[in-house]
Symmetry: C2
Subunit: 151 residues, 2 copies
DNA sequence: CTATCTGCAAATCTTTTGCAACGGA
DNA sequence: TCCGTTGCAAAAGATTTGCAGATAG
């Protein structure tokens, strides 16, 4: 009983997650639902942050499980990760597509619509045959307020 | 004598590096020249790769020194680093500006001229007041050959 | 009942830090 | 000589792996 104690969502309805897992012969577990919920609640977050959020509902869930589950959810196409700059990967819902702007100065992360990248994506496609994955990396630079305070 | 043994470049002329260091009250050392040389020779490389290259000339140089020196050279504006995707930062000469395209499929890194980003940079500046640092991150996606072999 | 999952502990890998010794100017 | 630098060892942080036990189906 030391394992998975206190793990459990409020209801555990026959969710889309359960269906997706079963289609591939995988099992539905409270941990998997909790990790997916956490990613949705947090918008975008590191594995560490996801773990903290999950543990608010189920303290026994291990960070190892969070890593493994994020990997799994990504393979299922339910979440995706981007690299915001330093090192920590950053997970968010797959549907929720956006480009990250990271400020060197204050570290703020802003989300902007992906259509900002349309022009660039077209050019890369035409000129280089490169299919840009718009959401996988962050653009970095200086935000307005940092520019103002710097000069 | 256990330290810095066998460290030494072929000549050690009064280089630009020496001057830059002295301007700031810092000291010229063989290690610093070797790290800078390695970055130039490799084009772009992780700290690990830089270290391996340096150690071909001077086996005693420690990875710690490579990390510290890359940091220093970056503060001096001689090199800069970008994030290619997974986690390892990637150092290259500062003068040598380019945008990295990383392919998800084969991992190939391609360099393209930064003016590809001009349109996007303008838009971000006008619409968001965000000053894009074009060279700091990589764009990822699928290269032509991976697209062809995938479909 | 059985194969899949999880938690735990330990291994790995990358990067940073403290400190005594070294060496550039 | 003096103080910036280096090498070493150990710490710190992030992620992965092996395995025994728990559990979904």
């Amino acid at each position: 009983m030391s394992q998975a104690q206190e793990v459990g969502t409020s209801a555990t309805p026959a969710t889309a997650l359960r269906r997706t897992l079963h289609e591939r012969g995988l099992r539905m577990t409270p941990q998997r639902q909790l990790v997916l919920d956490a990613v949705r609640q947090l918008g975008h977050a590191t594995p560490e942050q996801v773990c903290t959020q999950v543990q608010r509902a189920a303290p026994a869930v291990n960070i190892t499980t969070v890593y493994r589950t994020l990997d799994l959810l990504e393979r299922l196409g339910l979440v995706r990760h981007t690299h915001l700059g330093h090192g920590a990967p950053n997970y968010s819902e797959h549907q929720h597509e956006h480009v990250h702007l990271v400020c060197h100065g204050c570290g703020t992360v802003t989300e902007v619509p992906t259509d900002l990248m349309d022009g660039l994506a077209d050019r890369l496609d035409r000129e280089r045959g490169f299919e840009l994955d718009v959401t996988h990396v962050a653009l970095s630079g200086l935000c307005r307020s940092c520019r103002e305070s710097q000069q």
